[in-house]
């Protein structure tokens, strides 16, 4: 229950940068008002954010195609169909060669496949490269999205501000780390 309270108070405060005050207010409200069931419903139903399942206002981790879909190892996938993409946002094959819209290898004037481009893990490699501090995935939470179970992942750091610029939340981070940015992994498990 205290953990749930902490998460939901984060959620209540997540819409603003004045989260010190709102966090405390949210915590107080939760402690004195609704029961556990109501709290759970509050979390599960909150979808007024930029992708399904995400309940806070923390922004996406920088992703080559936009919506922060990743594979289990944290490498970027195209949100539309889960196809692997490189750091330039191009769909690629297993060897990293870029593909056209029909899944065929792109070729140069000599007929050679275009060379692979770098491909980095969105949280573990991309965020440190861009922002200059260590990040890691601590934990995650699963929700039902579009008939499939989705794993919501927080990219955590010892950092007081989140990618949006205002105060960072605890989210699914541990050991004092806070959520810097968010992403997800889409399972094929029906729900």
């Amino acid at each position: 229950m205290p953990e749930q309270r902490r998460r939901l108070s984060d959620a209540l405060a997540g819409g603003t940068s004045r989260r010190g005050f709102l966090g405390r207010a949210g915590s107080w409200l939760l402690a004195t008002a609704a029961g556990t069931a109501a709290l759970q419903a509050g979390i599960e139903d909150a979808e007024a954010h930029h992708y399904c399942g995400h309940t806070y206002t923390t922004g996406s981790c920088p992703h080559p195609t936009g919506i922060p879909r990743v594979d289990l190892h944290g490498y970027p996938l195209r949100a539309r169909d889960g196809h692997p993409v490189d750091d330039l946002g191009r769909p690629i094959d297993r060897a990293g060669h870029p593909l056209d819209a029909h899944g065929r290898r792109l070729t140069d004037p000599d007929g050679r496949p275009l060379p692979p481009a770098p491909r980095s893990r969105v949280c573990q490699d991309g965020v440190p490269d861009r922002y200059g501090f260590h990040t890691q995935i601590d934990g995650s939470w699963y929700r039902c999205c579009g008939g499939k179970v989705r794993r919501l992942m927080d990219c955590c750091a010892y950092h007081q501000t989140r990618i949006n610029g205002d105060a960072a939340l605890t989210g699914y981070c541990y050991a004092g780390r806070r959520v810097f940015c968010v992403m997800y992994f889409q399972t094929s498990v029906p729900c």
Partner: protein, 510 residues
């Protein structure tokens, strides 16, 4: 300062001076100059100073804000923006030449009570700010409106500041010049301004001439930055000593252009450098003297896929068994002593044991070799002195593709590709990180909205591309060449399946 920037500054200054004919302009001279008897010369001098500072600040505020607006709207600095700025300047120049009435007009004046209720230096400073702002009182020339439009179109804060300071200085100068000497020079000039409308007419003609010059400067700038088509169905340009060579796509031979002559070469690969031309046919590479055509060396290189040559070295790329590429180097002075067909002295310079990096087309300048190496973990441009074997990573990036280097002396041309854009960049080898963009294209990847359908866009900002990012394209910046003021790049439309690639070579001013 570029010619366009100098003309921009001058135009803004002239537009500011023209404002002296406004009711407020006359009032300022009278207010500050006429106060000398009451408050003394030092007070007037102080008031002139605050007026000038206020005018400069006002001008800077207005035009920098307009430039910031242009920058925020996106597209600033693009060819379309340059066209808009040119058209605006030309239209205003025509209007000034014809002496048309200034519309829209702002029929407002600065508050008169300030000069009575506030200390004169303070009132003068505030008056200066209002006049410097440009659009708070009567506008006497179309140049003011044109400069506002140009500031938005260019969208450069630096250009906005330049216009603002020029305009503020122009507004301040007549007052600062006339007010301290009001009893003598000031009143005489005021009379001339008031009774000789030809003076204002001439000044507006000068504004028009400067606007026309500005339009010409924009046109020159545009043509200088524009790409020029050099060859169609062509790829892999190379250039040296005024000669230019390229390959026809689809293995249809190569072309060498030098001293006004065009030579068709029965080769699949071609590169020129120093006094040599190197050609490859898939089995061997032959190096010839470009002037005499005499063969220097022939090297067996059955898997060669790219070439580079200089006065001292021949370098070629070959597929690496097991994946990746290799670069081989052959010293040409030694090669001349070797019997034709021998490649015994060639040495492996990149792509050795354990390396699976994809290597781009190599580039040579004297002993210096440049090549781009890319792995999943990142890309880098490496410089290798083939004589001393000293290797240096000139540029390195983790999530960015650095590719297609070309060398000219100590200058490096290369392509930087991110998920937002592709840029042809030029840098000095002494400071390779401070590169200048010569050509920018959008990404070849398809990006989504950053949020799922039906969900808010809040939170998608970190993955968005910055404003002004070129639109996505189907063309890829490919192989490059560099010599003097000319940078060449292949614009590649990649092939897929049975559809072959299409490519053309364009030139950009370096």
């Amino acid at each position: 300062m570029s010619a366009a920037a100098a003309i921009l500054l001058l135009t803004a200054f002239a537009a500011g001076v023209t404002g002296a004919w406004s009711p407020c302009g006359f009032s300022m001279v009278e207010t500050l100059g006429g106060a000398r008897g009451r408050v003394g010369a030092r007070h007037v001098a102080a008031s002139c100073t605050t007026f000038a500072l206020g005018a400069l600040a006002g001008g800077a505020i207005t035009f920098t804000a307009l430039a910031a607006l242009g920058s925020a709207l996106g597209g600033a600095g693009s060819t379309a923006a340059l066209v808009v700025a040119t058209v605006v300047a030309l239209a205003a120049a025509l209007g000034e030449a014809l002496g048309v009435r200034v519309v829209p007009q702002i029929r407002r004046q600065v508050p008169e009570p300030w000069r009575r209720t506030l200390p004169l230096p303070l009132a003068a400073g505030l008056y200066g700010v209002l006049l410097g702002l440009g659009f708070t009182t009567f506008v006497l020339t179309l140049a003011v409106w044109a400069l506002a439009g140009i500031a938005v179109a260019i969208g450069s804060l630096r250009a906005g500041l330049l216009i603002g300071l020029g305009f503020g200085a122009g507004r301040a100068l007549p007052v600062v010049l006339m007010a301290p000497r009001y009893a003598t020079l000031g009143q005489r000039l005021e009379l001339a301004m008031a009774e000789r409308p030809a003076l204002l007419r001439r000044l507006r003609l000068a504004d028009g001439a400067l606007l026309a010059a500005l339009a010409l400067a924009f046109l020159a700038n545009g043509s200088a930055s524009a790409t020029r088509l050099v060859a169609v169905r062509a790829t892999d340009p190379s250039t040296a000593g005024g000669a230019f060579a390229f390959e026809r796509i689809g293995g249809a031979g190569a072309v060498l252009l030098q001293r006004g002559a065009r030579s068709e070469l029965a080769a699949r690969l071609v590169a020129i450098g120093g006094r040599f031309v190197a050609t490859g046919d898939g089995r061997a590479i032959e190096v010839r003297d470009r002037a005499s055509g005499a063969s220097v060396v022939t090297v067996a290189a059955p898997r060669a896929t790219q070439l580079a040559v200089s006065d001292r070295w021949l370098v070629w790329r070959a597929n690496r068994p097991g994946g990746g590429d290799r670069l081989w180097a052959l010293p040409l002075p030694l090669a001349r002593a070797q019997p034709a067909g021998s490649a015994g002295v060639a040495r492996l310079v990149a792509g050795g044991v354990g390396s699976h990096a994809a290597l781009d087309r190599p580039a040579l300048s004297g002993d210096r070799l440049a090549y781009a190496a890319t792995t999943q973990g990142g890309s880098r441009i490496v410089l290798l002195n083939l004589a001393t074997r000293r290797r240096l990573v000139a540029l390195r990036a983790r999530r960015v593709l650095l590719s297609q280097p070309a060398l000219d002396g100590d200058r490096l041309l290369f392509v930087r590709t991110t998920y937002c854009s592709q840029r042809l960049e030029l840098a000095s080898l002494r400071a390779p990180r401070r590169a200048r963009t010569l050509l920018a294209l959008g990404t070849t990847a398809q990006r989504d909205a950053g949020h799922e359908p039906g969900y808010t866009s809040q939170g998608s900002e970190p993955s968005r591309c910055p404003r002004g990012t070129p639109r996505p394209t189907g063309r890829t910046l490919w192989t490059t060449a560099l010599a003097g003021r000319a940078a060449y790049v292949t614009l590649l439309r990649p092939g897929a399946g049975r559809a072959p690639a299409a490519a053309r070579i364009v030139r950009v001013r370096a």
